[in-house]
Amino acid sequence: MRPPPGTVQAKETSPVSLELLPDLILTLLLLIMAWGALYAPQRADAMTLFIAFGIVVALIWARLDAPDLALAEAAIGAGLTGVLLMHAARELPGELHQTNRTATYWGALAFAVVASLMFLAHLLYDDSLMSAGLLDAETDMTPRLRTLADAAVPESGVEHPVTAVLLNFRAWDTLLELLVLLFALSGLRQLFRDGQSSENRATSQWPESLALMSAWARVLAPLLVVTGGYLLWRGSSEPGGAFQAGSLLAAAAVILRLTGLLPPLRWSSVLLRLSVVAGALFFLVVAAATAIWGDGWLVYPVAYNGLLIITIEAIATLSIAITLSLLVIGEREDLRT
């Protein structure tokens, strides 16, 4: 029988048990990679270690029972960020400034180590962070956010709690987040205005690829699209959802662009602008419509809430995919012509 969702995990009796070994190894690995990503002498090495760091983080998410995050981290944190960094390495091969290892460097480092150990000590000897905030039976008996969320999931229109939180309980956050993507893209577009930056000097920024890579891309891209669609659909009842799906689709677009198979997406095409704007716009229209004709801002009608959520997610997936692709691989032809 599954224990109710709110129960606290039992504390270990001995200070360090054998079950902790894989976690200790991951911890050590992560610290070494973080160090390398920051201080490797060659910047290219630092970038590679950063990408590897992202993959280990995805492993830790899986270990901490966070499959939604593992999916998102692997695609976004390791995948898309990696492409961005590689592009940057190619554009700016030299180190722009040198770091000096002065006394403040070692002092600050010592501070970081000491502070972390002090934090650990606090955790071990003080209950407040580990168990407080979880218990309902406190002096005022008021249920916390977590308990209310768990209780409300059946009425939300989806079964997967994370999707319920993202698309229903805290839908306003998600709407604003779609705007974050859009604002970042708007900012990027400023860099390509006429004669402004040297980004528009070269005709092709992305290298020609091998025939093998092109063949592989032709197989991989459709697979990614199908997987993305599946993740989107699955998101209502299992880990998945708009962001994971969108980032996989963006990865597909990036692979196609890297192998020269993706034609320029032209900003002058109203279809492109529509797909970029659609996610946030539709969401905002839903919010306004529910406010004017319904029960309030972002109050989904109970009969349609599942359908509404999947529609919002589908349109958002499209917007997220296109916006992320443009953010990673968008060039002058895509963004300004």
């Binding site: 599954r2 983080v57 960094l85 501070f111 930056s197």
Partner: protein
């Protein structure tokens, strides 16, 4: 010590380490990597806090998904901005690297 406490401390340690990097590194791309590492540390803290219960806290997971998307958007913009800001200066260092 439980796994949760270990990961919480790891999150704080990565945060502090990358903060140290942000303050001492001068190359803008490295500083951006440092900021991303700070984000990873923060998310690690959040996901560990989520795992205090047997079934993880969906609210914190949702917050981290949001945070991840914000991080990639801002990083993409920042990297392109750094490239655009330094592109012309970089040609001189490229020449000196080739010698």
């Amino acid at each position: 010590m439980t796994a949760i406490e270990l990961y919480l401390t790891l999150g704080v340690a990565v945060f502090l380490l990358s903060l140290h990097g942000l303050m001492t590194l001068h190359d803008p791309i490295r500083r951006l990597i440092a900021v991303n590492l700070m984000g990873a540390g923060t998310f690690l803290v959040m996901v560990s806090l989520a795992k205090r219960t047997e079934v993880p806290d969906p609210v914190l997971h949702a917050l981290v998904v949001t945070g991840l998307v914000v991080a990639i958007s801002a990083t993409a913009f920042a990297l392109r901005l750094i490239i655009a800001a330094n592109k012309d200066d970089a040609t001189t260092s490229e020449d000196s690297a080739q010698r």
